[in-house]
Each structure stands twice: as structure tokens, then as C-alpha cells.
């Protein structure tokens, strides 16, 4: 595989991941209703914010 294609693929994947992570919950639910919510705030990285285990 061409190195440039591979690198830009990784960058695009990372951009999509970050975008998804920070997408508001209502938009996420519309796009993928069964995807399961991550931390309700989006960026904290925990699925269990209520349990206080964000970091």
C-alpha cells in the first residue's frame, strides 16, 4: 500500500473518531441509535461517569 494513502487513512480515521467522540448525544442517537452512549459529556472517555470513574 502506498505510504501516503496509509498515513492519510490513519489521520482521517483519527479525525472521524475525535468528531464522533465530541458529537452531541442527540445527534449521535440519530446517526446510530444502537451504538450505545459513551460518557454523556462526550469527551471524558468513560462510559460510567455517574459512577465517578471518568479518569
Amino acid at each position: 500500500m502506498n505510504e501516503t494513502v496509509l498515513v492519510f487513512g490513519v489521520v482521517l480515521g483519527a479525525a472521524a473518531f475525535v468528531l464522533w467522540r465530541f458529537l452531541p448525544a442527540n445527534l449521535k442517537a440519530r446517526i446510530a441509535p444502537n451504538a450505545g452512549s459513551s460518557c454523556s459529556s462526550g469527551g471524558c472517555g468513560s462510559k460510567d461517569c455517574d459512577g465517578g470513574s471518568c479518569h
Partner: protein, 621 residues
């Protein structure tokens, strides 16, 4: 002819007292018995026949600590007991189920329930556990003190159930008042009086070896207004010293491994984009964050240990005196404590505060508490600028500086709360009553599981969101490439470099370079990313021998002390977390408070950094 009245009994008690287990024993229903607080959230009705042949209905009510009703569950319990609940008959009697191992909590509820005046039995559950622990409860004396029948039971093994049924049979069920009770919320004075009565009865009727031997002796020191605060400060101080000294070997090992991987990958791949992405982006960026894992594990080791030992509630008690002076409600301690891990659960925990202004004040100051995401930033700058062997009165200066940064966060939060509550809103906090658990040795398994969860969460973050952001930063710092024959580092020509140079004039008065400005932007996604971003930016900015140097020596060579301290101060105050802003919006259901939060923290951060930079510049020039 109308059907005969079937007496109804309400099962009331604190959460986890064993109401559901007793309900099952009485009615034979197949309801799930669990140990989680608030499991009885639905209305559950059953029926049984007493030994005397009386048919009785029984209601299993949600757990509550008092009749004041703070949550919807507790309000249902209160309203059913008082006969105010729509669609429910007024109960003819109350069976209060008590966890005998924690009699102190339930006695207050018993006293409140007795004031309602319905026929009542106290079922003392888990008496077997009390005896196993070497404790004892004088049931006859307790019954005499309270003036109601008291029956020891073991709900999960049917122990004492026939005695309880006999006691129910002796209750004057038909004579109960069928009208709703005119109960009112007790005043703070009445609550204190109830506590005093409960404490007196407890002392007269029960003996717990833990209470006598350990808890009381330790509390005499740990809750002392002077010694208690000194011990709290010493504990916090020890914690931050340990974060630096214990973590050092593990950090050095991780750092060496990351460098080795970087050298290996660099040597294995040909020059090109992929090599740059892996070495400068992924390894330099994520590695710069990963190296702080040992410190985060040590910090949480202390927090979990103190929590399991029962000290955290004491710390809350000590802090409550201080918080009341600033106008914060006592319940704010838990949200503020949670914010040491992350402001997000802290802000969400503020839901327990009823008064809206108390809650908003807590939400606004919670991000000032030092969250674990700040730790990598603090550690990096302290390690780069504070000499490792420097001591003040025998204590390491690095640990002292970290302690100072945490203390600055706490003091600032209290000052902001004071300004809001006392000067702007001019409100006094409501009284706060708190249950102090007995001391117990932390179970190693619990501590290990807690650490595993924390370390796992940190590694997941490093492997997901931080990794993704590092890749984007590498991209923004690499493209567009410099034109042919351009001099200087390539990053100057990149998107990130241009953005950094564009924004630099705003931050120049506080001593920030364009590299710092660039690192602050992804730091909005997660604070600790700034460290990784600095790693990537300096890796891409450097040339020749500097290329594989660790970030710490680069910063100590390139930043003046004034910039380093200004950066630290910025991190204490800056509103640098987009997730926090989002959660404030959600919890307050308004954009006003996120805007207030961002505005006041930005102004505070800028002003404090400005002052720090210029004072240090003047002193070191």
C-alpha cells in the same frame, strides 16, 4: 355488605437494611434481593396471614434515611407513611427494618417514624452479624427506651420471623388513625435534638467493639479542630511526596522503554511520512502522557485507601467547617472531592444539593479542584524546573510545589464560592448532617480492583482519544510542508505553527510561546493532551541532536522560569476542558452558567498568569 378491612403494614427502613429480604420471607414472593442502595424503587405489595389468623397486606417501601424526602423514592416512602400518597390507603402499622450493625443511622428514622404515631414494630435485622463482630444490643432495653416492640431477626435465614409475626399480631391494627398525618419538615434544632436522643439510646443499649476501641479513640484526634486539620494536611502532604518519590523508578522505566521503542521504530523505517507519524506523533505524543501512569496509580492508591479506611468522611467533616464559612453547603464536599478525579462526575454529583444556588456555586467551583488530567502537566513542569534534590525543612521541594498547586486549587474554589454565595447572592448554607462510618482496614482486593479500574481508564484514554488527537496534532504540525529552500523548523510552515504564531500575541503578555499556544488548543479536549502536544511540537521543531531528547530537558533549556510558573498557574485556573463546559450546560440546562464558568476562569487564569510571569521576571532578571 362491604368487604372487611384488611390491615396494611408498611415496611420502612434505610437502604440495604433487608426490607426486601423480609418482604420475601413474609409474603413468599420471588422478588430479587440485592445489596445495591435503592433497589426497592417500585411499589411492591404482598399479603400474609399472622399466627392468629389475621390477613395482612404488606407494602415494601423504598429505602430512606429520614422522612424529609430528598429524592423521589424517599418522597414516596414519606407520603405513604403519612397517608398522603395518592391512591394508597393510610397504613395501619409500620414495621421498621433496621440494619443492627448500623443502628446509629436507623435510630433517627425510628424516632421520626414514631412521631407519626402509627402502631410500630422495630425489626432488628442482621443480629447474627452484630454477634459475630463481638457486639451486642440489649433488645429489652431498646424496646423500653423507644416504647415500641423490638424483634431481632435474620431476614435472609427466616430467623425471628415467627416472633415478628407474633409482635404484629399484638399491634392494635384496627385502632389505627385512618387520617393523613400533619407531619412537617423538622427544623435544624429539632434534627439536632433527634440526633442527641438517638445517640443517647445507642449508648445505653448497644455495644460495638469497633466503636469503643478504635473509632472513638481515632476520632478524638482525627476530628479535633486543630489536630484533625493538621493530620489532614499531613496526609495530603505525604500523598504528594509519595506521588513523586515512589513513582520515580517506574516512570524512568516507562520513559526508557518509550525512548527505546522510538529509536527502534526510527531505525527500522525509512525516512518518510509513516516514520514521522509513528515517531514524532504517536510515540512522542502518547508516550509523553503514558509516562505519568505510575503517579496516577499512586495518587489513587492513597485516595482508595483513605476512602476504604473511613477517613474520607472525616475529611468531609473537617472540610465542612471550612466550607460553611465560604457559604458552600456541606453536601458540596462529595462533588468537590470527586472533582479531584475529574470535574465531570464532580459536577454530576452536585445533583444531591437541593438548593439551586448552592448547586450552581458547587458546579462553578468544581473545575478548580485539581483533576487527575492536570497531574501530567504539573509533574512535567515541576520535574523540569524544580531541582530534584531541593528541600525545604527536610521536605522535597517538588512534592511541596505539587502540594501548593493542589492547595491553590482548593483555596481558589473556596474563595470563588465565598464571593458568589456571601457577596453576590448573600445566602447562608443549610445545615448539613453526615454519617461517619466506623474505621475498618481496607480490603486489599478492593484496593487492587479500584487501582485496576483507574489505571485501565487512563490507559484506555491514552489508547483512544489521546492517540487520535496526537495523530491530528502531528498532521496539523506537519502539513503543509515548507517550500523548497525554506530555513528553520518545518513546523513553522504548518497549520499548527501558523495558528500558534497567529494567537501568540494574545498570550505573549503572560509569557507563552507559540508552541505553548498550540498545545493549549488540543488541551481543550483533554488537559493532559497538552503534554503530548508539547512532545510532538518540540519533536517536530527540533533539529539534529535534539530530535530524540526527552521533553523535560528541552523545556528546562528553552523556557524561562517565569514562563514555566505562568504555565502552571494557567493550568490551575484555566477553563481548559470542553467536556466540563458541556456537562455544566447539561446540568444547569442553560448556556448562561457554562459562559459564566468559562468567562470567570479565563479571566482568573489570565490575570494570575500575568501576575506570576511579571513578578517572577522582575525577581529573576
Amino acid at each position: 355488605m362491604s368487604a372487611p378491612h384488611v390491615p396494611e403494614i408498611a415496611l420502612v427502613g434505610c437502604p440495604n437494611a433487608g426490607k426486601t429480604a423480609l418482604f420475601n420471607q413474609l409474603t413468599g414472593s420471588r422478588q430479587k434481593v440485592a445489596n445495591y442502595a435503592g433497589v426497592t424503587v417500585e411499589r411492591k405489595e404482598g399479603a400474609f396471614v399472622t399466627p392468629a389468623g389475621r390477613s395482612v397486606k404488606v407494602l415494601d417501601l423504598p429505602g430512606t434515611y429520614s422522612l424529609r424526602g430528598r429524592s423521589p423514592d424517599e418522597i414516596v416512602t414519606r407520603d405513604v407513611v403519612l397517608g398522603r400518597q395518592k391512591g394508597e390507603d393510610v397504613p395501619d402499622a409500620v414495621v421498621c427494618v433496621a440494619d443492627a450493625t448500623n443502628l446509629r443511622i436507623v435510630l433517627r428514622l425510628v424516632i421520626e417514624l414514631m412521631s407519626v404515631g402509627r402502631p410500630m414494630v422495630l425489626a432488628l435485622n442482621m443480629m447474627d452479624v452484630v454477634e459475630k463482630q463481638g457486639g451486642r444490643i440489649d433488645v429489652g432495653k431498646l424496646s423500653a427506651e423507644l416504647g415500641i416492640p423490638v424483634v431481632p431477626i435474620v431476614a435472609i435465614r427466616k430467623g425471628g420471623i415467627s416472633e415478628l409475626l407474633a409482635a404484629i399480631d399484638r399491634l392494635p391494627l384496627e385502632a389505627a388513625d385512618p387520617s393523613p398525618h400533619g407531619w412537617r419538615e423538622p427544623t435544624a434544632e429539632e434534627i439536632r435534638a433527634t440526633h442527641a436522643t438517638a445517640a443517647r439510646i445507642l449508648k445505653a443499649c448497644s455495644f460495638h467493639p469497633g466503636d469503643e476501641k478504635l473509632t472513638r479513640k481515632l476520632d478524638a484526634v482525627l476530628l479535633h479542630p486543630v489536630w484533625g486539620v493538621l493530620v489532614l494536611l499531613a496526609v495530603l502532604f505525604l500523598m504528594f511526596q509519595a506521588v513523586f518519590t515512589w513513582a520515580k523508578p517506574a516512570m524512568e522505566l516507562i520513559q526508557a522503554t518509550i525512548e527505546m521503542v522510538g529509536v527502534f521504530v526510527g531505525a527500522s523505517l525509512p525516512e518518510g511520512l509513516l516514520k514521522s507519524l509513528l515517531v514524532d506523533g504517536v510515540i512522542a505524543g502518547v508516550g509523553a502522557v503514558l509516562v505519568f501512569l505510575p503517579q496516577i496509580v499512586i495518587l489513587f492508591f492513597f485516595i482508595i485507601l483513605l476512602e476504604d479506611f473511613g477517613y474520607m468522611a472525616r475529611a468531609a467533616f473537617l472540610m465542612d467547617r471550612l466550607m460553611a464559612g465560604t457559604g458552600l453547603h456541606g453536601r458540596a464536599f462529595i462533588p468537590l472531592l470527586s472533582s479531584f478525579a475529574c470535574a465531570i462526575p464532580g459536577i454530576m454529583a452536585a445533583r444531591v444539593i437541593e438548593n439551586r444556588r448552592d448547586r450552581i456555586a458547587t458546579i462553578l467551583v468544581a473545575p478548580l479542584m485539581t483533576c487527575s488530567a492536570r497531574l501530567p502537566v504539573y509533574t512535567l513542569i515541576i520535574a523540569a524546573f524544580v531541582p530534584e534534590d531541593a528541600e525545604v525543612w527536610g521536605f522535597g521541594l517538588q512534592g511541596l510545589t505539587m502540594f501548593g498547586l493542589f492547595a491553590t486549587g482548593i483555596v481558589s474554589a473556596l474563595l470563588v464560592a465565598f464571593v458568589l454565595k456571601k457577596l453576590v447572592w448573600k445566602e447562608e448554607p443549610e445545615p448539613f448532617i453526615m454519617e461517619l462510618p466506623d474505621y475498618k482496614w481496607p480490603a486489599p482486593k478492593n484496593v487492587a480492583i479500584g487501582l485496576w479500574i483507574r489505571a485501565g481508564a487512563f490507559l484506555r484514554r491514552a489508547g483512544t482519544i489521546i492517540l487520535a488527537i496526537m495523530i491530528l496534532i502531528w498532521f496539523l504540525s506537519t502539513f503543509p510542508a515548507p517550500p523548497e529552500g525554506a530555513a528553520g523548523p518545518a513546523i513553522d510552515w504548518s497549520f499548527a505553527g501558523r495558528l500558534g504564531h497567529f494567537l501568540e500575541p494574545i498570550f505573549r503578555p503572560i509569557g507563552f510561546t507559540w508552541q505553548i499556544v498550540v498545545a493549549l488548543i488540543p488541551g481543550m479536549a483533554a488537559r493532559e493532551v497538552a503534554v503530548g502536544a508539547l512532545g510532538t511540537i518540540y519533536a517536530l521543531s527540533s533539529t539534529g541532536d535534539e530530535m530524540h531528547e526527552a521533553l523535560k530537558p528541552i523545556l528546562s533549556q528553552q523556557w524561562p522560569l517565569s514562563t514555566a510558573l505562568s504555565f502552571l498557574v494557567w493550568y490551575v485556573f484555566a477553563p481548559q476542558c470542553a467536556s466540563t463546559i458541556a456537562v455544566i450546560k447539561r446540568e444547569t440546562n442553560s448556556w448562561v452558567w457554562p459562559a459564566v464558568h468559562f468567562g470567570y476562569m479565563f479571566v482568573l487564569a489570565y490575570a494570575a498568569s500575568f501576575a506570576t510571569y511579571h513578578v517572577v521576571e522582575a525577581l529573576t532578571r
